[in-house]
Symmetry: C2
Subunit: 264 residues, 2 copies
DNA sequence: ACAAGCGAACATATCAGATAAGTGTAGAGC
DNA sequence: GCTCTACACTTATCTGATATGTTCGCTTGT
């Protein structure tokens, strides 16, 4: 049962397509850089001694995997990898079980708290500016909403700025893995936003509270205060979790003692 | 049976294959469960009003994406998702830049510290047993190594048990996202193990030290001590980071103040 | 000289039809 | 009831052909 499901068909390739795909993947991942273009299908077909169709299907597999960008009339070019599989997993999980949003926020609790701390240590001037602009975007959207111009649109913009804020932090963390994963998480996160917003209102809180929390995070990062940045982010996420819980009418929930806790 | 508008995909589907793939993905992710099987290629071809080849390529894209499991003679069946994209990204990143291992361990620092804390709160009896067996496996492998029977083999077994230990913690976290990501991380992690082992030796440390660290983590989890579990895991990873740094001959490195720090 | 425009060579997208080989199952035989 | 075999179904792969998009060198007008 410890046998892990990876691709243990290194030697045994039941189908020609699979072995060509494997060989191509090896080549793409190991020796080619994003932007480079693959040989033509006919070329590869000759090289691997299979029909063009087989090469085509192998290429399609890599394309689905997000490694290649194919287009009519031009050769396939190597792409910057994306976490398609992770996004698929998240979408499926949340769709099948809304409670999975708690798994998501639990994960964010680990990822984003550290992300914020790292950003406080590494953020560039440009990163700080991006954060500032995101907060400003939230303020503007909030003002529009209060003016009652177009509530739906202003909410949409608010969430977009909110997402942009967190995204900017992930980028400013200087950690490629964190940026990568956050990117893949962005889509499912939007659902989470909608829900937490509803719970937020139900609990009688205002958007100003939300903005305040973001400002606290921003300030800590700008001042290079790693500890405060992590704490602020953690509190923000805990509040969000409560919002979602309220929206889902889940039980009040036992007190969660957070691991890396700094509460004395 | 009315005429179906097939080309009305607003999501920019320049090719038939892409739109069929998109539709299938929607279907697989949204409405089907792992284990279910897709209609036959001919069937789908008729339904989408395209040739069998087009359906075939679309299916291959999903297979590459890890959503389907195809085989000769039987229909494609829906698969439990895997983070192929994430694994690809990790492999490529580490291959292109060994320093990426620090990004990896930084990420592990956030993921596994929380994972350990959560495990301390949620681990089942079976989970505890799995951890215990992993530690025992490390001890046995270490003993074999000291006896000088087969050094390479005993090292391999040691690393396998080590990985199994961390894997068991991820599973015991009860968080599906964490388990999922750890799974995807497993392969690149093995490289990391080799390297840290070398640095470990270079620094004059022994395997017993490593085992001790794992025992500390295990004890904390078994006793349900979330805080201690997180702390022990953090220290273990920090030590590992130093090992890797030693192996890569990188500068001693500035002191890193960890965000969620519990150092007073 | 130089830039715009044209066209041929190249490359992929998709179709049709055909053969080989693996899977699963219904029915024959015991 | 159980086993074993033949058959229908299904995927894997090939060949060959047509349509359409891309790229780039060459011509042409200024």
């Amino acid at each position: 049962m410890a046998s892990r499901g990876r691709k243990d068909r290194a030697t045994a390739a039941p189908t020609a397509t699979a072995s060509v795909a494997e060989a191509l993947a090896q080549l793409v991942i190991g020796e080619m850089s994003p932007g480079a273009s693959l040989p033509s299908e006919s070329d590869l077909a000759a090289r691997f001694e299979v029909s063009r169709l087989t090469v085509r299907e192998a290429i399609k597999m890599l394309a689905g995997r997000g490694l290649l960008d194919v287009g009519r009339g031009r050769r396939a070019i190597v792409r910057e990898p994306t976490a398609v599989g992770f996004s698929d997993f998240l979408s499926a999980m949340i769709r099948n079980d809304p409670k999975a949003l708690f798994d998501l926020i639990e994960f964010r609790m680990s990822l984003e708290v550290q992300s914020a701390s790292l950003a406080a240590r590494r953020a560039s001037r440009a990163g700080i500016t991006a954060l500032e602009m995101a907060v400003e975007g939230m303020r503007e959207a909030s003002a529009e909403g209060k003016a009652g111009l177009d509530v739906a649109e202003s909410e949409r913009r608010f969430h977009a700025s909110d997402l942009g804020f967190h995204e900017a932090i992930a980028l400013s963390s200087g950690n490629r893995l964190i940026s990568f994963l956050f990117e893949a998480m962005a889509a499912p996160l939007e659902q989470s936003f909608m829900l937490s917003r509803r719970g937020h209102d139900m609990r009688g809180l205002t958007v100003d509270d939300t903005i305040d929390e973001h400002v606290q995070i921003f300030t800590a990062i700008r001042d290079g205060n790693t500890k405060a940045a992590g704490t602020a982010m953690r509190e923000h996420l805990q509040r969000t979790e409560h919002d979602i819980r309220a929206a889902l009418n889940t039980a009040p929930n036992p007190p969660i003692v957070w691991p890396s806790g700094e509460e004395p």
